[in-house]
């Protein structure tokens, strides 16, 4: 966690753009939450034919629960804006959703995740070791 999966038409986003989007997502998430960079996972899933979502480009985001609503809204807004800026895709063609779950359901770096906002200094130290 967090997980940001971009669902895009096949061959529509080249590697260089994917990497730029991944870096932007990492910057935005870490700037918003204070999380270490190694915490942020970004994947791209390509599809053929018609999109099953409301828009051709879609961000399926997964985060730990517990952040204020305004933080979540700004996070999603900034992520979608970064994608359109980097790829040149029209904002009308991009949308997303944010799913949340308790941190205690997951283990990363051998530790059960703390809930959002309840991270102690030991968590950041251990995560930084992954870099």
């Amino acid at each position: 966690m967090p997980s940001y999966q971009w669902i895009v038409p096949r061959d529509s986003v080249p590697f260089e753009k994917r990497q730029q989007v991944a870096v932007a997502c990492t910057d935005i998430h870490c700037g918003s939450t204070g999380a270490p960079r190694s915490f942020v996972h970004v994947t791209f899933h390509e599809y053929d034919g018609e999109s099953e979502r409301s828009t051709p480009y879609f961000l399926d985001a997964g985060n730990r629960a517990g952040r204020p609503e305004e933080v979540k809204k700004k996070l999603m807004s900034d992520l979608l804006a970064a994608f359109t800026r980097i790829t040149g895709v029209s904002p009308d063609a991009v949308s997303g959703r944010l799913s949340e779950g308790p941190g205690r359901w997951s283990m990363e770096a051998g530790m059960v995740l703390p809930e959002a906002g309840e991270e102690g200094p030991e968590w950041y130290t251990a995560e930084a070791a992954a870099d």
Partner: protein, 106 residues
């Protein structure tokens, strides 16, 4: 019981390890949750090289996502998470920083 979606990066986990990983995921889950290992479903999703990133860099991290059929108490969940994580590292040789495991309530 539980079903697993294993998201792995292309070229990181050899294909011939999948049967061992699947049987171990099933065995550990059945021991922790009760029931039969045969009822545990495991699927793999391979992320092509250049399509998965961690911290903005190419990722080597595997994500093992378990979805329960019934809610689970946290003590049992934590024990299961540790066992699954340790097994994954032992079988694949990856580091503890290259695997994320979740066991989610329905």
């Amino acid at each position: 019981m539980i079903s697993f979606n294993c998201r792995i990066q292309e070229g990181v986990i050899p294909d011939d390890l999948r049967p061992t990983l699947s049987s171990e995921l099933a065995r550990i889950s059945a021991e922790a949750l009760g029931g039969s290992a045969e009822d545990v479903e495991v699927e793999y999703e391979v992320i092509p090289h250049g399509f998965g990133f961690r911290g903005g860099e190419i990722s080597t991290t595997s994500t093992v996502r378990g979805l329960l059929a019934e809610p689970l108490d946290q003590e049992t969940r934590v024990g299961l998470l540790h066992q699954l994580c340790d097994m994954w590292c032992e079988v694949t040789g990856c580091s503890i920083h290259e695997v994320i495991v979740s066991v989610r309530d329905p």
